[in-house]
Symmetry: C2
Subunit: 211 residues, 2 copies
């Protein structure tokens, strides 16, 4: 399962809650540009900013525009889309965020397989927000199930339990927020912490994200 | 700085507190065997166990034997020695453990450079004990210094502050302990949590660990 809370997997869940058709994740800006025209919506972000000339960045609320319904979005971001593309090989590659946390947890329980929570992080480094989400998901999975956690899931759970009563304050300490605060990311943070906004669980089929 | 609390860097600090001469870290059992004879002490561990025919494993208390004084030890372990060897390129590669935590922190403050805390982990995965030590060290560095932490140092500090009043219980939850408990690792865990047993800060010069 892929996690990039600020902001790719949150944006993807928001997009599907808005009834978009599909999202094609691509690695580079150049690959995204090949789709220009033909009714594709181009969305791309690097270092927190929308790329000049693209229709969207990866600010989740941008994906809620009604004009996007039934459209295909081509998406390339700094961390999240790379994490999705690197996961090929897993049986099922699901897209998780706080927006669909209950739905995705139910799906994981139903599927009943070993679970890897792949935190996208920031440029291949550990980050706070994806880890805290992994802890939240671990907490739900642990209720009523005898799950075996490795050390990283155990620590993610500890951090979530420490943070959960005031997630916003905790995550405002994240390097991601501090790196991007001049871009007015605070609205995106608040949006990304909304719980159970959708019951949809998007998944990557090796070419596109569908649901 | 290299951290492998259970047990390589703890064992290395113990060895130097016992006035051994030097430690040559090597990747493989085969490399270690090339040093056989010639008054070298061979120490090696795989999956928690001493290798048949070697003088020592990596149980820290084994390195306190008075007969080891002024000897050169050739050491190969599952995680710690690989971490040491992979760090070549850093200006100074120091060896840290709870046994020398105050001494190494003072040295880091004195040197006044950017610090990378390289947790050896377990087979390239995150682990609990190295992270908690990184948090302890971050806490000391933060007193009186305006340090900038990335998200991993911030989380390590949170975990340490949660764990510090009962480190033993916290670390008995670690996957490392649970993987190796049939090997009676508990004595090693207690030894590894001893604080400031030595003022020596060993460092790796690219070939051998000296102090």
């Amino acid at each position: 399962m892929i996690i990039d809370i600020f902001r790719a997997t949150t944006a993807i869940c928001a997009a599907f809650s808005n009834q978009i058709k599909t999202i094609i994740p691509v690695k580079t800006i150049e690959e995204a540009l090949k789709y220009r025209g033909n009714d594709y919506i181009l969305a791309s972000e690097r270092h927190g900013k929308k790329i000049e000339g693209f229709d969207l960045g990866n600010s989740p609320e941008g994906f809620l525009d009604p004009s996007l319904r039934n459209k295909t979005i081509v998406l390339s971001t700094t961390n999240g889309t790379n994490a999705i593309l690197s996961a090929s090989g897993a049986d099922i590659i699901m897209i998780g965020s706080f927006l669909n946390i209950s739905a995705i947890t139910q799906k994981l329980i139903h599927i009943n397989k070993d679970i890897i929570l792949l935190c996208a992080g920031w440029q291949d480094k550990f980050n706070l927000e994806d880890t805290v989400f992994a802890g939240a998901l671990t907490e739900i999975l642990a209720v009523g199930f005898d799950i075996s956690q490795d050390d990283s899931a155990f620590c993610a759970l500890q951090l979530y339990q420490f943070a959960k009563n005031d997630m916003k304050s905790f995550l405002l300490k994240s390097s991601h927020y501090n790196r991007l605060k001049h871009l007015n990311l605070e609205a995106d943070i608040l949006f990304s912490l909304k719980i159970d906004e959708t019951h949809i669980v998007p998944y990557f089929d090796g070419y596109a994200i569908i649901c």
